[in-house]
């Protein structure tokens, strides 16, 4: 029983990692129907920037804020320079370009900071929390809370602000939005900026747990894909819930299903992606859209 509780709790902790990354993926998908394969590497890269700033003596929260700003501006520039020329291209072109970004960011991080793992400071206290034999860290709680907070802020932004409304409109109805004076192309750039911010937050939350190195996100990103698909790739709420479910599910399968063990987790993630896409393509929280010819 205690083991079960422990597995569920650490599943939630891992799940919140997937969730925060999935949230970033969903933001880009919502703004341009694209999966950014480089999302994880961008998050990793910005986390390194934060690390560097802390090394230079900046207080953690200042580094945090500065990194978010850098992530936003950097991603907007990136969208303008690299994505915009292929904005209207088909999925294959965009897939390849984002793969190119993935390779580039990974290489750059290795070039600048090397491959030795780095310890990233955590804004939360280190002391473990122990409730009835189930132990976890305040960092775990912190990630869950930050993910939920990001979700809340994002939801409010899209629901309540004029800019958020314009972004939704631009993503869903680019042609109609244009004639209303919405600069659709900039909305896409803004979408990149926002998702990079969420990614940066995710990276900085995750790094204290998994430790920082250029390959930090490679293991996470596939689970984030699975989480996003599970929750419905257009739904921020779905991304978070999908991430948490996935985290718990993988832990329970790994612990109690002999065949899966700890070594078939990726295969399970693959199976979940395929199964969800086949059975309920819109995910748990996505809207089912009516296909029209």
């Amino acid at each position: 029983m205690q083991e079960l509780a422990q597995q569920v709790v650490s599943g939630l902790a891992s799940g919140s990692i997937y969730a925060s990354m999935a949230l970033a993926l969903v933001l880009i998908y919502r703004s341009m129907n694209v999966i950014n394969f480089a999302q994880g590497e961008m998050a990793m890269f910005t986390t390194f920037i934060a690390w560097q700033l802390v090394q230079q003596g900046l207080p953690l929260w200042a580094a945090f804020t500065a990194t978010i700003a850098v992530a936003f501006v950097g991603a907007v520039l990136l969208e303008r320079i690299v994505i915009r020329p292929v904005e209207r291209a088909g999925p294959l072109t965009i897939v390849i370009v984002t793969l190119g970004l993935l390779i580039t960011f990974n290489g750059l991080a290795g070039l600048f900071w090397g491959y030795v793992i780095k310890s990233f400071p955590s804004p939360f206290p280190a002391a473990p929390i122990n409730i009835g034999g189930v132990a976890f860290s305040s960092q775990d709680v912190g990630i869950i809370l930050v993910s939920l907070a990001s979700l809340g802020v994002i939801s409010l932004f899209f629901a309540k602000t004029k800019l958020g409304l314009a972004m939704r409109a631009a993503a869903l109805y680019p042609a109609a939005s244009q004639v209303l004076g919405i600069r659709v192309s900039w909305m896409l750039a803004l979408g990149w900026g926002l998702s990079a911010v969420v990614g940066a937050i995710s990276g900085m939350m995750v790094a204290p747990v998994v430790f920082l190195d250029p390959n930090m996100m490679q293991g996470i990103v596939v689970y984030a894909f699975a989480a996003a698909v599970l929750g419905g790739v257009e739904s921020p709420l779905g991304a978070v819930v999908g991430g948490l479910i996935l985290g718990v599910l993988l832990n329970l399968l790994g612990t109690y299903v002999e065949f899966v063990g700890t070594d078939l987790r990726l295969a399970v993630a693959f199976a979940i992606i395929v199964a969800v896409l086949l059975i309920r393509p819109a995910g748990l929280f996505g809207r089912v859209s009516v296909a029209r010819v």
Partner: protein
């Protein structure tokens, strides 16, 4: 320069036949030894500098720095060493092609310190068939020594993973014969070799192991695995992991309020891991962790006034400026390169591949400045494990404090091979 491949293969085959029959060096090979001129000897190597295993790239850079230092000091027997170190991205097919390129296009005299069990396994038959020495490979699998009769041109350098695990097992049986053991290991050749060693070391007492869990290098974290180990009731925790996951294991165990006796494999027993784990998991996360060492950790205050460490720092500052010298991989590269230079020296002025191999299996190197004092890099025709000695140490107050004397796994290996 232009040799048709037919001729090449033909001559190799002829040479092979000659060696088999007479055991003497073929005159064909002696005439012109690939990669050797009056002023130069060319070595080749493969390290992953892109892809998931890029962390190991630095080993090659460390070795290259040492060779540059040796060259500036006049080289070996008047020859400068040219080290062609290529990136195989940890991919066996790529390793195979690059090895052929190094042998057939760049005409390397020998391969030195190629990294990783998969890559070395892939190129071993080719190199042996063509009698190209595959020296001091950077992996601790036992196969390099155990299968030396089948692959006489291949030899490892570092202590093998199995011996290391056997050392831990013996130590454990001595101090806590009724321990309940939980193991986390990386699900690849590296982790499984350690696991096999642990089983061998425990022998009939293998039943002490109550839980074994593995992780994949693609796993984001190992909290689920640690939870399972904790739930198993284990009081002794073996970590056979790469630094990242070792660090996570230490921290997560502490965070889950699990405080077993911990054995940590050598690869991960470095300052980055221990400092990081102490910082995140508190002092209890690392206090009393047991490991072994054979290299001089640049951050260990024991070596603050050591001449070997001073040499290391001097070399790195001059030939690899700007790199993070606290990274033990550089030390590893220098240490292996030292043995390589030593071997070339012993092989003599009149270099052949056969002579190089002979030197490699007659090592007796007590003065490698980069490995711990007292450890002798030693081989014999019947023993192809260059380093078998390791020093047990316990983590205490920010550093590993050695305890007991240097343990030589050689007798264990000897009994093992029987």
């Amino acid at each position: 320069m232009f040799i048709s491949s037919k001729q090449l293969i033909g001559s190799v085959a002829a040479a092979f036949a000659l060696v088999l029959t007479s055991g003497a060096t073929s005159p064909l090979v002696a005439q012109s030894v690939p990669g050797v001129t009056a002023t130069e000897v060319v070595l080749g190597g493969l390290h992953p500098c892109s892809g998931p295993a890029s962390a190991y790239c630095t080993i090659g850079k460390g070795a290259a720095a040492y060779f540059a230092y040796v060259n500036d000091k006049g080289g070996v027997n008047g020859r400068k060493i040219t080290y062609k170190d290529l990136d195989d991205a940890y991919s066996p097919p790529q390793a195979m092609q690059l090895a052929r390129q190094l042998v057939e296009q760049d005409h390397v005299f020998a391969m030195f310190n190629t990294l990783g069990t998969p890559s070395n396994t892939a190129i071993r038959p080719y190199l042996n068939q063509n009698q190209v020495p595959q020296l001091y490979v950077a992996t601790g699998a036992t196969t390099w020594a155990h299968d030396s009769s089948q692959y006489p041109w291949t030899i490892g350098w570092q202590p093998d993973y199995q011996s290391e695990a056997i050392i831990y097992a013996r130590n454990l049986l001595k101090v806590a014969p009724n321990a309940k053991i939980g193991v986390i290991y990386q699900n690849d050749d590296y982790g499984k070799d350690y696991l096999a060693g642990l089983h061998k070391g425990l022998g009939p007492k293998s039943s002490l192991i109550v839980k074994e869990v593995s992780y994949e290098t693609t796993d984001p974290d190992v909290s689920s695995q640690i939870g399972q180990l904790k739930a198993s009731g284990a009081d002794t925790f073996f970590i056979f992991a790469t630094p990242k996951f070792a660090l996570q294991s230490l921290v997560i165990a502490a965070q889950q309020s699990w405080h077993p006796t911990i054995y940590l494999n050598n690869v991960s027993a470095n300052d980055v891991v221990m400092k990081g784990a102490t910082e995140k998991g508190g002092a209890t996360a690392t206090a009393g962790v047991i490991s072994v060492g054979y290299l001089k950790d640049p951050l260990d205050p024991r070596w603050a006034n050591d001449s070997g460490l001073a040499l290391f720092k001097q070399i790195m500052a001059k030939y690899a400026p700007g790199v993070d010298t606290s990274n033990l991989f550089y030390m590893y590269g220098c240490g292996a390169a030292y043995t390589m230079v030593d071997t070339l020296q012993k092989a003599g002025r009149d270099l052949t591949r056969q002579k190089l191999m002979d030197a490699a299996i007659h090592l007796n190197e007590a003065n490698n400045p980069f490995v711990m004092p007292g450890i002798v890099v030693q081989t014999t025709p019947s023993n192809h494990f260059p380093i078998t000695q390791e020093q047990l140490a316990k983590y205490d107050n920010g550093r590993f404090v050695p305890f007991g004397s240097i343990i030589d796994a050689r007798p264990i290996i000897a009994s093992e091979s029987k």
